[in-house]
Symmetry: C2
DNA sequence: ATGAAAGCGCTAACAT
DNA sequence: ATGTTAGCGCTTTCAT
């Protein structure tokens, strides 16, 4: 069942030369006469010769491939990051190997081990939401494996990072709600150990504080992603609506939470934005087609992938060890649609003017 | 910058044994004494030894990895197929390498060459919509590379295939529209060379014929995916609506066409389903959250991935050449939502009764 | 300008 | 039960 491809040896035999001559001729070495080169290259083409990258990798101790760990490919944010990664990797001659952590710490470790032993030349990493301890990553990094974090980075590891301004994302979304006139704003957060979560949360708090709205801990609900997101979100929303002063708006900190909230509210027959406003992070491409179209913060996923890949390839191809690392911060963007409403009742002077 | 991992040689030196003893001990060969085995295995663990899969691949002429070509990871159908593939591959000890063809014939060829030269043990393939000629695939297949097609298969190549009953999908969707009372049903198709397209189209025709509705070629619009899908679909719909008897319903044959149609109709301010009904193929998970929730045909993407992977691994691990190939046909499922409406005006006897 | 030979890490046929 | 050796396909040093 195995098929055998043409090797350098085959060509050498056919042309009655040595393997080294073939190897050199194929790579255009200056030591080989033009005539021989031409002969070899033409013959190679005629038999459709392809160098065996496995053998090359073994020899050169590099694979010209980079490993990527995403949470889920079935998430628009990550699939667009992948497209960004591929666009750069492809043009620089690298291949991309993708694994999914499915938000599991164990799978993250398994994948990491696989990829590193598989001799990827570098790693593009976004932490799983379950990851609390990053020593497995640190170990690889200290052994010299080039790693670039994207989106969800580990503070403890000093390497290149490409993230977005999560504080700003949380701030802008919340600020928009406040400007619209909402005052009782709930916040759906996820994995507390991710810096990203904390930052978005801080942005939320800052926006509240600036407008003199007091921070209410009971308005903040953490979804641990331990069971079905939808169930978790439903439960959170149920609790929120049972509060003596239920929120008039929700800001969800992730794609899945945003969709979960939309689903849960619909299921509960609650009108958006009339009964409650909703905004959140999402990269969904059909956000305009939803009911209602969602006011949402979108991350520059494609650009994140591109930038991270450029940095990684820089690391891989650097002649001497890199010791100065940079953190690139991209800006998320809020698009206002119909799930948040400019409330007339706040157009007057009852509340502090907001600019 | 490179880091050097522990090799069998290192262990052999440290323990003063031969590399073959180490190799055998590590793989638990019966020829090695329990004592030696234990010693070696413990030492290996203590130095965190990992076999180098590149070297293993080179030696064994297999990589324990399978290549997958999808059109786009950023398409729910394909990302769910990938999840299905991974779930099986993972448990059988295979790794998955994903490439995207982006519906381009050239990229399909490049990826195919890369993957095959990269010594994947087998290939899971879905044709790009631009692929008309499959001789590049045929060549690989004839060389003995195990290939399983999923979803979009090449008729000319005799190998395992996992597809859905596309005829049934087209038939059921159209039939549903007819049952609702729609009579002027348009059909948005894509790449004419794909069998899948033809089958869905046939299903559409059959449903019409059974109800005595004459087939109107001007109701069938082909979108070539040559430019932005949205623009193409918009143009198609514009043409449809300008017909003397514009359609009262649209059946779209692919995910992107369905979303494109929804977008175009919304943009044109046309109400669904009041002014025109819409149904189509889609695997979007947010289909319930759309406005309106779409009546749609969903493909069992996860199962397709699983089944295709099982068949492929069967092929890879088969002792003798497989000559009898099977085509597994899964059933798509129509879910009725709000983008199609039971029209009262057709509840009477004006039109032939439909059961 | 070309060839011979070693070696990347691993496995396995063939000794012993 | 363990060691020796060859070889997977390629690159590269060292001869010639």
């Amino acid at each position: 069942m195995k098929f055998k491809a043409t090797t350098i040896k085959d060509i050498a035999k056919a042309l009655d030369m040595s393997t080294s001559t073939i190897s050199r001729a194929l790579r255009g070495s200056y030591e080989i006469s033009g005539e021989t080169k031409k002969l070899v290259q033409e013959y190679a083409r005629s038999v459709n010769y392809r160098p065996n990258p496995i053998a090359q990798s073994l020899k050169e101790r590099r694979s010209r491939s980079i490993g990527v760990i995403v949470s889920e490919v079935a998430n628009t944010f990550f699939s667009n990051v992948i497209n960004g990664i591929e666009s750069i990797a492809y043009s620089r001659g690298y291949h991309v190997i993708i694994s999914q952590s499915h938000e599991s710490y164990e799978r993250e470790i398994t994948n990491l081990n696989y990829l590193s032993s598989r001799s990827v030349d570098g790693l593009l990493l976004s932490l799983s939401s379950a990851t609390k301890d990053v020593s497995h990553i640190k170990a690889l990094h200290e052994k010299g494996l080039p790693i670039v974090f994207y989106d969800r980075a580990a503070d403890e590891i000093d390497t290149h990072k490409v993230i977005i301004d999560n504080f700003q994302g949380g701030y802008t979304a919340t600020r928009h709600l406040i400007k619209c006139g909402y005052r009782r704003i709930a916040h759906l957060t996820f994995s507390e150990q991710l810096t990203l979560t904390k930052e978005r949360w801080k942005g939320y708090q800052q926006a509240l504080a600036e407008s003199g709205i007091s921070y209410q801990p009971e308005y903040v609900k953490n979804c641990r992603h331990e069971q079905s997101v939808l169930l978790e979100v439903e439960e959170c929303i149920r609790q929120l609506l049972q509060l003596p002063a239920p929120p008039d708006a929700i800001f969800a900190a992730s794609d899945r939470l945003t969709m979960g909230a939309l689903m849960a509210l619909k299921k509960g027959g609650i009108c958006i934005p009339q009964e409650i406003a909703l905004t959140g992070f999402t990269n969904s491409e059909t956000v305009d087609l939803l009911h209602p179209p969602l006011t949402a913060v979108k991350q520059p996923a494609f650009e994140i992938g591109q930038l991270a890949t450029e940095l990684l390839i820089g690391l891989i191809e650097s002649k001497r060890p890199v010791t100065r690392f940079e953190t690139r911060i991209l800006m998320p963007e809020l698009t206002i649609r119909d799930s948040t409403l400019q409330l007339d009742r706040y157009q007057n002077t009852l509340y502090p003017k907001l600019t």
